[in-house]
């Protein structure tokens, strides 16, 4: 159709500014002082809640790796008057989705319920947090599930290269530890370990809560005390030291049969509270974070067809931060693909970014966040992330300006501070040709 094209161009020209998005986040405080962020919305008869306790997998003692994960998975396996089967039956009968997980720096939980079943849902959550049973049979069953997950992980090339790389960059720091543990540490965990971990890590002083959906502030205030009020006031967290980055760059190889090599590369990056965070987000978007628009994707995939995907991302943590990149390529083409990627990174380091790239990155970053908040659970999920990264409740109102104010000079500064390819550590798993490792690691088997 000939008349399609002109109209199309016109539309593109007129639609470049991103629409403002006002999300009304209320702060709710219970009688006992427990706080939550709330986006109230009564369109659907649903309530979603996310909550987090600071202190996650990093809290596992070296000899007890896998403990945080096992503890979290056991919270839905029987509590108060309900054994595991009865507890699960209650969840199912009331269509309650209740999940717990252990992440690097926090223990996370979420619950989603129909308004009609909210009483039961929040009663079950209260029991899971304050009266988990950790019955012997269930501990064994869930331990076995974790063992199966661990074995799956051990067989995965992606995990193998990640583990080797993290061992190198984090050394004996807890960030080098394994979320699921090893077969030995997992087997050694006792019921007493699990009870002690829950008692010292699930408390009110390290708790954050966010809610979206069909609930009023007043109702929520009462719910907060009902759900979390019986938790101990203070957590007992192990202090974690800051990450010290290893000095020399390394190329690590984990040999593995197959046709393809997976690459994972890392450099020290900015922490979330760094004043240059937004400039770094923009730099990362342009280099490798922007999907098909990124320079790495353009150079390695779109122009040469050497990979199905190559990307980079910022990974800020409580006690350190990395910029992580990943790609996969044919064994025989690894050298060619990595040469192009390195060249792209060198040019990025030397020449910086163009005004046009800066503007595109800003357009994307300012437009993307509102588009993530399209369901009640996604909204409460974004709100808990904001709390975990210490953003204020007015953050969504300020964020666009923080991004818009970044200049090419700012981006150049962060590129020189963090994006020097000379300093990167590269991990490979496969039988790569054309990249010579400085260190070869045996795959881990337990």
């Amino acid at each position: 159709m000939k008349n399609i094209f002109p109209m199309f161009v016109l539309l593109l020209l007129t639609l470049t500014a991103t629409s403002a998005h006002a999300v009304n986040i209320q702060e709710v405080t219970s009688n006992s002082g427990i706080k939550a962020w709330l986006v109230e919305d009564h369109k659907l008869p649903l309530i979603s809640m996310h909550f987090a306790f600071r202190g996650g997998v990093e809290q596992d003692p070296v000899a007890k790796q896998g403990l945080a994960n096992l503890t979290m998975n056991l919270l839905t396996e029987g509590a108060g008057p309900y054994d595991a089967a009865a507890f699960q039956q209650q969840l199912a009968d009331h269509s309650v989705a209740l999940n717990f997980e252990a992440s690097r720096d926090a223990l996370l939980g979420s619950i989603k319920t129909l308004t009609t079943d909210k009483e039961k849902a929040f009663e079950l959550l209260h029991l899971a947090l304050t009266a988990p049973r950790f019955d012997k049979n269930e501990v064994e069953r869930v331990r076995n599930q974790q063992l199966a997950a661990l074995r799956n992980q051990l067989g995965s090339p992606g995990w193998q290269v990640r583990y080797a790389l993290f061992q190198r960059i984090f050394g004996s720091h807890p960030y080098g530890e394994r979320r699921l543990g090893s077969t030995e540490t997992l087997a050694s965990l006792t019921r007493a370990d699990i009870k002690a971990f829950a008692a010292s890590h699930l408390a009110r002083d390290n708790l954050m809560v966010s809610v979206a959906g069909d609930v009023t502030p007043k109702e929520l205030a009462a719910l907060l005390d009902q759900i979390f009020g019986d938790l101990p006031k203070d957590s007992k967290l192990e202090p974690i030291s800051e990450v010290v980055w290893p000095q020399e760059p390394t190329i690590i190889l984990v040999p593995r049969e197959g046709t393809q090599t997976e690459l994972l590369f890392a450099m020290p990056g900015p922490k979330r509270e760094d004043p240059d965070w937004y400039a770094a987000e923009i730099a990362n978007y342009i280099l490798g974070g922007g999907g098909f628009s990124s320079r790495l994707m353009q150079d390695v995939r779109e122009k040469k067809g050497l990979t199905y995907g190559i990307s980079t991302g910022l990974s800020p943590m409580e006690h350190g931060a990395v910029i992580i990149g990943q790609a996969a390529t044919d064994n025989a083409k690894t050298g060619q693909a990595w040469d192009i990627a390195e060249d792209t990174m060198h040019r990025f380091y030397q020449d910086g970014v163009t005004e046009k790239e800066l503007e595109s990155a800003k357009d994307y970053l300012t437009g993307a966040l509102p588009l993530e908040m399209t369901s009640t659970d996604k909204i409460s999920g974004v709100l808990i992330d904001l709390q975990l990264e210490y953003s204020g409740r007015d953050y969504l109102d300020r964020r666009n300006d923080l991004i818009r104010n970044v200049t090419t000079d700012d981006v150049e500064r962060v590129i020189h501070r963090w994006f020097n390819p000379e300093g990167l550590t590269l991990g490979m798993v496969g039988r790569p040709e054309g990249v010579i490792p400085t260190k070869t690691e045996d795959p881990v088997h337990n």
Binding site: F8, T18, N152, G258, G309, A328, D330, G367
Partner: protein
């Protein structure tokens, strides 16, 4: 009067009555045959568009496997007015998100943007629905990307190879037995002109359905669609040929040993009726059955095999009835550490026999149905769910009403029907049992033997 003029494009307008329904959509069809379905959702100022074409890998011709998926990739490589890669860049410049996927029976493209950008993404999809340009200089590197994708998903992943092999053994000489991504040797030979030809034969407004979900009103979308998609010309597409008669029943057992595997896995796949091939309403009974057998930890099989007998540490049941041909009912299990997978295989068989013999409890079936019906409310709390639900239904020969009446049809399933489905499943003569086993202690020679070069592996065809 713009509005009156646009009505000429509207062939059919079906506002649906409000009863126990799922998404409460408005559906209409333009004069050029393009169906548009609108689902308002005002939770966030965002909109999602999904464009589904009624063509998938099962519609490919012999020796051209992978062509539907290759074309899906090339849909991002430029039109007369838009350069290669510009499509995704334009979406990204709005903070938006876009992607695409191909399956046996359909190919779909989707974008999420701020709600006021809907005209833009409609323009872009309308443009590539008719004006795609496939040039050798972009088509050639894209073929390497597809081969890299195949490598990543299948060739270099024991799980991927295992799944591919099971499918092929279960349905040899049937389109669903061929991987969607295609056989490597055939992908390698695909050309730009193959793709152009496929595009011309299958991509047209009269062979597509568009679902718009988000912060919009049906009226406005209708006008917008009529002015943007309306002018596209209907053109003859290759008649969708009926799938061949169902493949001959076989009962297979397949064992794959791979040094890259650390955790063993057991799969039982059974060829069962889909919404299309069912004689009565048994697909709905199979849906209730799948949920009863595996609904997290209260599933009947989980209780038996994991909690009581301790032979498995995990179980997953899946059944997807949205298919033009038959559907698969799959039970995947992870053996309990220290138990032999063969032991688990026997335990699964015994458990299913036992359940079929005694029948599932009527109350359990009623509870399961209740749970499934409530899923409809949760489905509304999602921007993309309407696109998936309507897209899959309509490209496999079903209607908006089929989706909207789903809760009622689940409600109508009787305990007898569920137990009949269970009996049929257990007695089904068309199935495969697959075991994926680790080989950590094999010698180096044995390891290398377990890793045949891929071209050999695929040579079974």
């Amino acid at each position: 009067m713009l509005w009156r003029g646009l009505l000429a494009f509207l062939l059919l307008l079906t506002p649906l009555t409000a009863r126990a329904a799922v998404f409460y959509p408005t559906s209409f069809t333009l004069a050029n045959g393009l169906q548009i379905i609108v689902v308002p959702n005002h939770l966030a100022p965002a909109v999602n568009q999904m464009v589904w074409y009624k063509v998938g890998s099962a519609d490919e011709v012999p020796n051209k496997t992978g062509l539907a998926h290759y074309l899906e990739h090339l849909m991002f490589r430029g039109t007369e007015g838009m350069g290669p890669g510009e499509f995704s860049k334009t979406i990204a410049a709005q903070g938006g998100d876009d992607n695409a996927f191909t399956a046996y029976d359909y190919t779909a493209f989707h974008e999420t943007v701020a709600a006021d950008r809907l005209p833009m993404i409609m323009q872009m999809e309308a443009d590539r629905m008719q004006n795609l340009r496939i040039m050798p200089e972009t088509a050639t590197p894209e073929l390497s990307v597809v081969l890299d994708e195949r490598q990543q998903r299948t060739d270099n992943d024991p799980d991927g190879r295992f799944e591919e092999k099971l499918r092929h053994l279960l349905m040899p000489h049937y389109p669903y037995g061929v991987p969607v991504i295609g056989w490597r040797q055939e992908i390698e030979k695909l050309t730009a002109s193959d793709a152009t030809d496929f595009y011309k034969r299958h991509y047209a407004p009269n062979n597509a359905v568009v679902i718009i979900s988000g912060d919009v009103t049906p009226d406005k979308v209708m006008r917008m669609a009529a002015s943007i998609y309306g002018p596209l010309e209907r053109h003859d597409v290759t008649e969708r040929r009926p799938l061949p008669p169902p493949p001959n029943p076989v009962q297979h057992r397949f064992v794959m040993v791979d040094v890259g595997v650390e955790q063993a896995e057991l799969q039982w796949q059974v060829v069962v009726p889909s919404y299309n091939t069912q004689k009565g309403q048994e697909a709905y009974a199979y849906e209730v059955l799948a949920e009863a057998l595996d609904s997290g930890e209260i599933g009947v099989l989980y209780r038996k095999l994991v909690a009581e007998q301790g032979v498995a540490s995990g179980i997953e049941t899946s059944y997807d009835p949205d298919a033009r041909g038959p559907a698969l009912f799959t039970i995947a299990l992870t053996p309990h550490p220290g138990k032999k997978p063969e032991q688990l295989e026997k335990a699964l068989r015994d458990a299913l026999q036992d359940l079929a013999q005694h029948g599932l409890d009527a109350k359990l079936i009623e509870d399961t149905k209740e749970r499934l019906q409530r899923e409809a409310i949760f489905a509304r709390d999602s921007l993309m769910m309407p696109g998936y639900a309507f897209g899959m239904a309509i490209t496999t020969g079903h209607t908006v009403t089929d989706v909207e009446e789903w809760p009622d049809r689940i409600k109508a399933v009787t305990p007898e029907a569920v137990n009949a489905a269970l009996t049929d499943l257990v007695a089904n003569p068309h199935s495969i049992t697959g075991l994926l086993l680790p080989d950590a202690h094999a010698s180096k020679a044995a390891r290398e033997a377990a890793h045949p070069v891929l071209s050999h592996d695929m040579g079974i065809r």
